[in-house]
Amino acid sequence: MPVVTFLGELRQAAGRAEVTLEADTAARLLAAVAAAIGPGFADRLWTGEGLQPDVEVLVNGRNIEFLDRLDTRLRPADRVTIFFSGLRGFPGG
């Protein structure tokens, strides 16, 4: 089953660093994550019409934006990373 890793504020909101859930697409996995963790967390991920604009989802390190977005297919060994970018500009670390 794919392993989901939460980073930053989403880790704190989820109350854990990782969760393992069964799903065959990114959309189904994110729905499963929201259901498993709770409604407050779901609101952080979803707008009602789609993903919150500041939520970034990686599948094996690649942003789903450059794969098949929410239709990205998942395999059991895949690693999914979710983080909250919220960035508005271009500074540095």
Binding site: A17, D54, E65, F83, L87, R88, F90
Partner: protein, 600 residues
């Protein structure tokens, strides 16, 4: 005009004289201040071929028109000089309180010339100026120096100083201010040391007047509100600081590990922002007028690395930890504290250690030269070597000169990971092509603060761009480089651009100065500054041939992970970049471009 105090203090250390000069308003308008105007002054006053550590080089402490005002984060100052590390233009930027305090003494710029016969410090007490002996603090750490000089002058004074590294002319030396803030890159601390200038101490009470107070405050409040609305500047940065990036970049597969030999670090989470927040973080802290407060006040409460201070920030965390393969957070934090106290750039120091580690592991440096094994992941070796470097003792004497000199000395300059002899920061350009181009073309050598394309390549702001793709990266690199030059010249912190853009900053600049700026003109000033820096470098002897990357980045694919097989595709981007810049195929600005920018 407002914003500017209208005065430069010229300090001739050879003669021991100080002279006040009027700021040229036309020049100030054309270059704004800080990085822009400081570079213009340096360009006009020194021969770019000068030996950077000679008395003929100059050291400029520059503020911007928003430094010392109510503009959020308007507390920056810059140290501008010819770099002894790169031989190119140097401009290192820092926050804290010393920049505003210099303004409150009535000065926009301090220009240091010549070399004092014996160690001195400059004491600015409002409009009174004294060059004082620094014998009592020579050899002391930056923290001891600050404490002693405050006791000698005024407890509410602010101090910038070099540590033992700067005194010993280490090319990794920086200028520290307010104990924990650093004008870090390009070896500016060595230039200060070469002038026998230990510190600048300032205590002022003269406010910075603005041209249109009501409109200025309205523009400032609009910015504060935007920063409050941004999840990063109101939440993410204060809570986790910049080390939040450790796990993010690791997940993408371009977190440079063990001197760029890998793109992912198995110990990343142990030194991540999340772990720092859960373990050593005491509180966050802000600089002058800052509403973000990203600094990390930290403490290692027990064990052999016990201590207290500030950091690590992302870049320091990476260079001292991930680049060296060390996942022991207390050790990384201790190394960071040592860099601050001894006055060394954490990026340059960490990458220098990583370079030495790779050379040792590959058998290029005999153990006898070092005096002990120096393997990746050895926390004790890291902390030991950082201290040796700070005092330039033993093997540390060489490593304190930066990774390039270490790799060159042992016959393998190709193992130095940097550009123009300055070390890379914490993103592997093979996995983020925009960063590869930005590093190669940066006027001060490899740098993440000269065009942070991670914004589009990782965070999708203002649009998402595939980090592996080269298309469009030349255009975005140029834009970000120019905007950054503009922001750096105002006296604002670049971190505000997590929440606001140039369109929000320029109204503050305009109402502060009343100089008639437009947004378009501000961006043009940024481009002018970038080209002026380029002209300085060309006159110093650099050329388009220096706009390149190490062989590892160009030819060796990242060995595993999400970016497996990726190399830096510079050849696909550089010609387009030169064309967009209005430069010829050799990277030289055309006459038409220079005329357009009023540089001809």
């Amino acid at each position: 005009m407002g914003g500017w105090q209208g005065q430069i203090l010229r300090v001739n250390l050879t003669r021991g004289t100080c002279k006040k000069e009027k700021l040229d308003p036309k020049l100030a308008r054309a270059y704004i201040g800080g990085r822009g105007l400081g570079t213009r002054i340096l360009y006009d006053e020194i021969d770019p071929k000068v030996d950077p550590l000679s008395a003929n080089n100059k050291l400029i402490l520059a503020t911007g028109p928003l430094t010392g005002t109510n503009a959020s984060t308007g507390g920056r100052y810059m140290v501008i000089t010819k770099s002894p590390l790169t031989g190119a233009i140097a401009c290192s930027n820092s926050g804290g309180y010393i920049g505003p305090e210099i303004k409150f003494c009535g000065y926009d710029f301090l220009v240091f010339e010549g070399r004092a016969k014996t160690p001195v410090y400059l004491w600015l007490n409002n409009d009174k100026v004294e060059i004082r002996p620094a014998d009592k603090v020579w050899g002391k750490t930056t923290h001891e120096t600050e404490d002693r000089l405050k006791a000698e002058t005024h407890q509410e004074a602010h101090v910038c100083a070099i540590g033992p590294a700067g005194e010993a002319l280490a090319l990794t030396a920086c200028v520290m201010n307010d104990k924990h803030r650093a004008a870090g890159r390009s070896g500016v601390g060595a230039v200060m040391g070469s002038k026998n200038l230990k510190a600048v101490v300032a205590r002022g009470t003269q406010p910075v007047k603005v041209a249109r107070p009501k409109e200025f405050m309205a523009a400032c409040l609009a910015v504060v509100n935007k920063l409050k609305e941004s999840p990063v500047t109101s939440g993410g940065l204060p809570k986790y600081g910049t080390p939040i990036l450790v796990n993010v970049i690791n997940a993408h597969g371009f977190l440079p590990t063990r001197n760029f030999q890998q793109g992912q670090f198995e110990g990343a989470d142990k030194v991540s922002g999340e772990t720092i927040a859960d373990t050593i973080l005491i509180k966050n802290k802000g600089c002058f007028a800052c509403t973000i407060a990203c600094a990390r006040v930290s403490e290692v409460k027990e064990g052999k690395y016990k201590g207290a201070g500030e950091g690590p920030e992302y870049e320091s965390d990476w260079a001292l930890g991930i680049a060296t393969g060390v996942s022991d957070l207390p050790a990384v934090t201790k190394a960071n504290y040592l860099c601050n106290e001894l006055g060394m750039d954490t990026i340059e120091a960490g990458v220098a250690v990583a370079t030495a580690m790779e050379l040792f592991e590959k058998g290029h440096i005999p153990q006898a030269d070092i005096g002990r094994p120096l393997r990746f992941g050895d926390a004790d070796a890291l902390v030991w070597l950082i201290e040796e470097m700070g005092y330039r003792r033993g093997f540390g004497e060489l490593v304190a000169q930066g990774g390039y000199r270490v790799a060159e000395k042992y016959g393998h300059p190709e193992l130095f990971m940097g550009v123009k002899k300055q070390a890379f920061p914490a993103y592997d350009g093979r996995g983020a092509q925009g960063m590869a181009l930005g590093y190669a073309t940066s006027n001060r050598g490899a740098c993440h603060l000269r065009g942070y394309t991670i914004s589009v390549e990782v965070f999708g702001i203002p649009k998402k761009m595939d980090p592996f793709a080269t298309q469009g990266k030349a255009e975005v690199s140029k834009l970000f480089q120019d905007v950054t030059a503009f922001v750096d010249s105002t006296g604002m912190c670049l971190f505000t651009t997590f929440g606001i853009g140039a369109e929000d900053i320029y109204p503050m600049l305009e109402h502060a100065t009343g100089a008639g700026y437009t947004l378009e003109e501000c961006l043009k000033v940024g481009e002018r500054i970038w080209n002026l820096e380029r002209l300085f470098n060309l006159k110093a002897g650099l050329s388009g041939k220096d706009d390149t990357l190490p062989p590892r980045i160009l030819h060796e694919g990242i060995p595993a992970g999400p970016a497996k097989g990726m190399v830096g595709k510079l050849a696909e981007m550089l010609p387009e970049y030169y064309k967009l810049r209005g430069w010829d195929g050799s990277g030289v600005p055309t006459k038409a471009k220079l005329k357009e920018l009023a540089l001809a």
